[in-house]
Symmetry: C2
Subunit: 299 residues, 2 copies
């Protein structure tokens, strides 16, 4: 297991995701050009591609191939990108920079940014439907994959977390509220990425349950590490200024539990996820390495 080359794995999967993303977006000169430029600007801004890579790794864990899930992998990245564009709006987090570049609305204006987000969310469901129909033998699987993504992105998931996040700004939040925000805003879509990959990869119900539990732990750990990096990271590492959570009065793990307890909790969750993933044997080697990476990353 120590022989697994995570860097090579991430580079390869990220490249395949980037190539696929470039083809699923309409060209910049498609009518109307402004919104297509705005969509491509944010989607192709780089980033770790964590969610699409988790879709792929989820499929691989149950014996599926990356090629089986590429449209769904792209769809999860489109949904993530739409959420970033809308979160950055003046009415929400009011951020000027993202991944080291001006945010979407600073370049294209608020109206086009809102509509670009709407369009990315809309297009994501085409990709998921096309992928599921290509792989599925029955209509129920297509439905299940879409319902999985809807649950994770809706008020029961990501949007619900964002609402509570915004409504908690500048307030002292209880530990349970903080966990609600992180589980919904971040962990739900990370969990869904793994589950969708496993569903399309042919996973059984018991496998989906296990990978879902692991995804919840990984997703929560990911956001705790994000909170820690916002305190400890540098501008060069993060592509945005450190300390932005504190300036905005955001509910974070370090603010509620302190840095050391936050790091311990992230470590515990990563361990929990890896224990759960052990059920997949060799198929989960990439996922276990990804779990370590989520804890150790510097950006």
């Amino acid at each position: 297991m120590s022989a697994f080359d995570l860097t090579a794995y991430l580079n390869d999967r990220r490249q395949r995701v980037d190539d696929a993303l470039a083809t699923v977006l309409l060209p910049d000169d498609a009518e109307p050009p402004s919104v297509h430029r705005a969509m491509r600007y944010s989607v192709m801004a780089g980033g770790k591609r964590l969610r699409p890579i988790l879709v792929i790794a989820g499929a691989e864990a149950v014996g599926g191939a990356a090629a089986t899930v590429m449209e769904a992998a792209c769809a999860l990245e489109l949904i993530h990108t739409y959420s970033l564009i809308h979160d950055d709006l003046p009415a929400m987090d009011d951020d000027d920079y993202r991944r080291g570049r001006l945010t979407n609305h600073k370049v294209f204006g608020e109206a086009v940014a809102i509509l670009a987000g709407d369009a990315l969310l809309t297009d994501a469901f085409r990709l998921i439907a096309e992928n599921a129909a290509r792989v599925a033998k029955n209509p129920a699987l297509v439905r299940d994959v879409i319902v999985e993504v809807v649950e994770a992105a809706s008020t029961r998931g990501m949007v619900g977390g964002q609402v509570v996040d915004i409504e908690s700004e500048g307030k002292t939040v209880a530990a349970e509220t903080l966990e609600y925000i992180h589980l919904h805003k971040t962990a739900a879509l990370i969990r869904a990425s793994l589950r969708v990959g496993a569903m399309l990869g042919g996973g059984r119900a018991d496998q989906l349950a296990v990978i879902g539990e692991a995804g919840r732990s990984l997703g929560l750990a990911f956001q705790i590490v994000d909170d820690i990096l916002d305190v400890e990271g540098t501008l060069a590492e993060l592509g945005k200024s450190a300390g932005s959570d504190e300036r905005k009065g955001k509910a974070t793990y370090p603010a509620v539990h302190g840095i050391e307890a936050s790091r311990e909790e992230a470590r515990r969750l990563i361990g929990l996820a890896k224990d759960e993933l052990a059920a997949f044997g060799a198929g989960a080697v990439p996922l276990c390495a990804l779990a370590d990476y989520i804890f150790e990353r510097r950006s």
Copy 2:
């Protein structure tokens, strides 16, 4: 045919749609409450329920029953409502009133309004997927219904129309640009409503083609009549002040072609749609009456 009671038909179908909509939304006290109240506020604000009724009428035209398509009917209304919430935002049309009530962001704030729109769009795809999987014998139909809605709501449809609409404000627009805006912003979703109803109702490919053509004509006529009503209607009839298009410098048919030519074009399109719908015989009696209503309505 003159014996068809359109008022009774509309009342019955509207009531069934309203009942179904009330059940597909989470209750106002679901966590987090603000966004669920915001979603319900706009969805249950009334309105003609034209798009869901067209889904039902599309199914009926090919011999399907209303009960076969109720989730999809609701989904089309959720998508329409999301588009109204986002269109009304300060960064877009900046409207304070809609259907005689304060707009969503005036009541719930911009952040929650944006997120309520996002959530309605997201939830719509669950309803469509569930409906299609319930009716479909193969995965391809589920995919086709979703792709149909995505096309109509994306930058190739509604969002594309909204982008050009906003970018044309205060400018003199060519007749072709005006037609682009109306076909994309309004007609695309109306056309998709009919086609989705016909697809789920068991329509054949040739029937889908015909009903799609009729939907395009009906949708364009609907928006032209909307433009005329904005000039001629009263506050009581419209639930918003008349003349708002002119104040905002909106591209409209009366502004480009004059009132009389606009009315003539709407009449021509309605005739065209009814000619196309004749192919469905008795099954299209409600749709033909709806076509007349779209022309004659006062709000």
